[in-house]
Subunit: 175 residues, 2 copies
């Protein structure tokens, strides 16, 4: 459901192949969603099925044919309806917090290692987001679309930063 909407959103920006969609997920969307390509191709087929998108096969000289997917008016309406239906809520879900919750089964040193390992990974992700952020032209962010897209990246940055602060606090006060 969510994936279908996100794909519609991307197709709304420009017609795309499944391959290109996957690249968008990996590069610009990855801070709040990602999907396996198998899932993307299947969802794409469903969208065509429901009439939310149409396919146009475009031959290329060297590379394989492009199955270019175009959003339809119905598709645009479905996207708009999702956005208008109100803010979606989704349950928190973080396996790592589960590890922390039950980490008392480990020795103190192992708990510390667990937290430090996470700290490293979080720092790595944060750095990645920060470098993505640098690539954004802020002159263009006066335009609302660019502003909102950049905002979701800022959200991810704040979340990771908050996680780092939390990890440091836990590491400091761990009994």
């Amino acid at each position: 459901m969510v994936l279908a909407r996100l794909i519609l959103g991307l197709l709304c920006l420009s017609p795309m192949t499944g391959y290109e969609l996957k690249k968008h997920f990996d590069s610009s969307i990855n801070h709040f969603w990602n999907a396996d390509k198998a899932q993307i191709y299947r969802t794409l087929a469903q969208l065509v099925d429901k009439g939310y998108a149409t396919v146009r096969t475009v031959a290329q000289s060297n590379y394989p044919d492009r199955q270019e997917h175009h959003i339809t008016e119905t598709g645009r309406a479905a996207l708009a309806q999702w956005l208008s239906a109100g803010a979606v809520q989704s349950p928190e879900r973080d396996p790592f917090m589960g590890q922390v919750f039950f980490a008392a089964e480990l020795e103190r040193d192992d708990i510390q290692s667990l937290l430090e390992e996470r700290r490293q990974a979080t720092q790595f992700i944060l750095d990645d987001y920060l470098s993505q952020r640098e690539g954004i032209d802020m002159r263009a962010a006066a335009d609302r679309r660019s502003f909102l897209m950049a905002a979701t990246l800022d959200h991810a940055i704040r979340q990771q930063a908050a996680e780092l602060e939390w990890l440091d606090a836990v590491l400091e006060y761990l009994p």
Copy 2:
């Protein structure tokens, strides 16, 4: 997989029925995980199947029999192994950020409503976490297990607080 570990963790604290597990998920674990009861009962059956837990039927005078699940040594080992295998990483996944990312399809006022609605919901969740936090006896938190459990709640509180700050910033600067 994660759910199985979390259930093992809970059974590690004390033997429980599926019904009680569900209540724990709804009350104390909900800030980082939750699960449908159907899923809990099925996972419980799998744990018994694998020898990670055993069932003991306890008759009650008034209420239905309790299917009390006890963790086994193998189960304890499996839990410890999960914790020792290192910090798990999980992809970010937030449908609401998808709405924001594509919100430019809406009018400015509708975008604002979307953000304000989310702000309300976030405040509500934060308040819930804060009241849960009040119920925690900090004298007991010198003990490592209680400290870690409280820490995961603190994490959730920080995350929600960061979300509120972000929402306010976006609402302020939205072009």
